[in-house]
């Protein structure tokens, strides 16, 4: 019974049978074809009698995720034969993966730049604005004292590291602790656009970087003197202080009227013109029916139209 493995010719034979079989299984189960062309053919909808069917894969901006997820749910209820997979991953991932043909629609908080189009070999990328996002500077309640309004210059000085104490903007004698989102984050890119004309390098070096809004919220809420920036949906959190900018408080009507300056449209990006199913979905997302709905409002977005 102790006898161990001894080489017999048929062992190798069995191996030769089993491994290709497994490889074949693995190959067949692979969800994404590697080339854009193949991906498009697999996801092309087969329209029978006006009813949509097929698959859509969407990824990208985590700020836009709740909105797209909700749209996907509603769209699938209307078109039961359509299967939509929505994941986050970051705006950068959304732009990259759509250009690589891995996904059908990539969500991004910022438009795809010409430099990126060249770099990612994606000259025909198209973006559709799906919602207006607003961001605001938030701080821990200890430190700012009675200050609830900051000017743009004050914000610039704080985030570039020129002002290091709340005292210098009229608050308590508490050091300012900067908390950033990771470089490349859509939220950070929108702040950079507003504060530094898009030059991310002007953010003070050495500030902690977090890769999601929840961690930023938690960190700011528990650290006296901390300051960061968050999307509109997070501003109502009672543990945070959301600043007015030059006397304008962040509220829906002002954002809609274009008076609130931090933020901008979030985009759904496709490589080339969207395929029929993707187009139908994007038409739904931008429709007055969806953008005027109660859920859209509750999620903290502002309609593009």
């Amino acid at each position: 019974m102790i006898q161990r493995w001894v080489y017999r010719p048929w062992t190798a034979f069995a191996l030769m049978l089993l491994i290709p079989a497994l490889v074949a299984c693995g190959g067949a189960a692979s969800p994404h074809a590697p080339t854009a062309a193949a991906s498009l053919t697999t996801t092309a909808p087969t329209s029978t009698g006006g009813e949509l069917s097929g698959q859509l894969t969407i990824a990208g901006s985590s700020a836009l995720l709740p909105l797209i997820q909700e749209a996907a749910n509603q769209f699938q209820t209307k078109n039961p034969k359509v299967q939509i997979t929505v994941t986050a991953g970051g705006s950068g991932a959304g732009r990259t993966q759509v250009c690589e043909g891995k996904i059908d629609i990539g969500n991004s908080d910022v438009p795809i730049s010409d430099a990126e189009k060249t770099k990612l070999n994606c000259p025909d990328a198209q973006g559709v604005a799906v919602a207006i996002q607003a961001f605001d500077v938030v701080a821990n309640k200890q430190g700012p004292g009675t200050v609830t309004n900051l000017t743009k210059v004050q914000m610039m000085d704080i985030f570039s590291g020129k002002i290091t104490s709340w005292k210098d903007v009229g608050g308590d004698d508490t050091p300012i602790v900067l908390v950033n989102r990771a470089k490349g984050s859509g939220t950070r890119a929108n702040m950079a656009k507003f504060l530094f004309d898009g030059d991310d390098a002007l953010f003070a070096a050495g500030a902690s970087e977090e890769d999601n809004n929840e961690t930023v919220k938690q960190t700011v809420a528990q650290t006296p003197g901390a300051i960061s920036y968050l999307g509109f949906a997070y501003l109502s959190d009672p543990s945070l202080l959301a600043f007015s900018l030059d006397g304008v408080a962040p509220n829906k009507s002002d954002i809609k009227a274009g008076k609130w300056l931090i933020g901008g449209p979030g985009y759904a990006i496709t490589k080339g013109a969207p395929a029929p199913l993707a187009k139908a979905f994007l038409d739904f997302v931008t429709s007055a029916e969806f953008q005027g709905g109660a859920t859209f409002d509750k999620l903290g977005f502002v309609a593009v139209k």
Binding site: L22, G92, A205, E209, D211, Q218, A226
Partner: protein
């Protein structure tokens, strides 16, 4: 009939072994080939000796990540190793049965906690505590990460070390006590050397968890890649934390290649670590090979004879 069963069983086991071997090779090959592509963008010196990792100016020096990882894991091991050993000895040799059972349950509970829970506890308990004792700042940094990792590595280390100690034959204890050893001498001189391979395994697996831990570390370390770690209580980063923070937003091919190269380094470090600790175990106790010798029917009597004088 028996032959056919043999064919099936051997094919299954052989294939299972082959899949593990092939997937490990494929993993190395994939990360290696994608990662080494970074050297078509920059020189190895720039990558390995660069002291700043900043995607804004496309500099990818790996030292801030590497040093952050080494400091974090090193400090964790310094604290966690002896602590786990002490807990295991206490559980096996000293604690009365009811206490031991409670402790075992607690250890198992800690092992079952997902790492994001550790991260959240670290963020809400450890980070503010570090901030208070160091007087200001954010509290995020290597110290907070080490504290979280000590708790995370304890269950792995304690349970394996405990099993190793418990598996020792009772005769070792009886023999040591019979020749007049104190309990301390018995533990230190007899039990620990005898359980050495198991204890080394405990440390290796604990280290593996510390090296690879991503989310919990990322939540408490501050993720600063643009400079070398300045102190234990200022923001820093580790290799896995940098990968998980930056990969989603890495749009340039240079940045992606650099991050995958970091993943490749992480793989090599893990392999190297395991090899090193195994070698250390083998040097220390030449009469106890860590690898089990395969017995063939003919070699068996000899092995049995050899076993008597162990």
């Amino acid at each position: 009939m028996r032959l056919r069963q043999g064919v099936l069983a051997q094919s299954i086991f052989f294939t299972a072994a082959a899949i593990v071997a092939i997937s490990t090779a494929a993993l190395l090959l994939f990360t290696g080939s994608r990662g080494l592509a970074v050297f078509s963008f920059m020189g190895p010196g720039e990558f390995f000796l660069g002291t700043s990792w900043n995607q804004n100016d496309q500099t990818f020096g790996v030292l801030p990540l590497l040093l952050g990882s080494l400091l974090t894991v090193g400090l964790t091991l310094l604290i966690s190793g002896p602590l786990a050993l002490g807990v295991a000895i206490f559980m096996v040799e000293i604690a009365p049965d009811p206490v031991r059972r409670v402790m075992r349950t607690v250890v198992e509970l800690f092992a079952a906690l997902p790492s994001v829970i550790y991260g959240l506890l670290g963020l809400t308990l450890v980070v503010p505590w570090v901030r208070v004792i160091t007087g200001g700042g954010l509290g995020k940094g290597i110290l907070a990460a080490v504290i979280v990792l000590v708790f995370m590595t304890q269950p792995t280390m304690v349970s394996i070390a405990e099993d190793a100690l418990r598996a020792l034959p009772e005769s070792l204890r009886e023999g040591a006590l019979a020749v007049g050893a104190t309990r301390w001498q018995m533990i230190w001189r007899v039990l620990l050397p005898a359980a050495r391979p198991g204890l080394i395994t405990a440390v290796v697996l604990g280290t593996g968890r510390a090296v690879g831990e991503t989310i919990a570390v990322q939540m408490v370390i501050g993720n600063i890649t643009s400079r070398l770690p300045e102190s234990l209580v200022r923001g820093a980063t580790t290799m896995p934390a940098a990968i998980v923070t930056q990969l989603p937003e890495a749009t340039s091919p240079e940045h992606r290649a650099a991050l995958i190269m970091v993943a490749f380094l992480l793989l090599l470090i893990t392999f190297g670590l395991i090899a090193a600790v195994r070698a250390a175990g083998a040097i220390g106790s030449p009469r106890r090979p860590t690898r089990r010798r395969r017995l063939t029917p003919t070699a068996r009597p000899a092995a049995a004879k050899g076993a008597i004088d162990v």
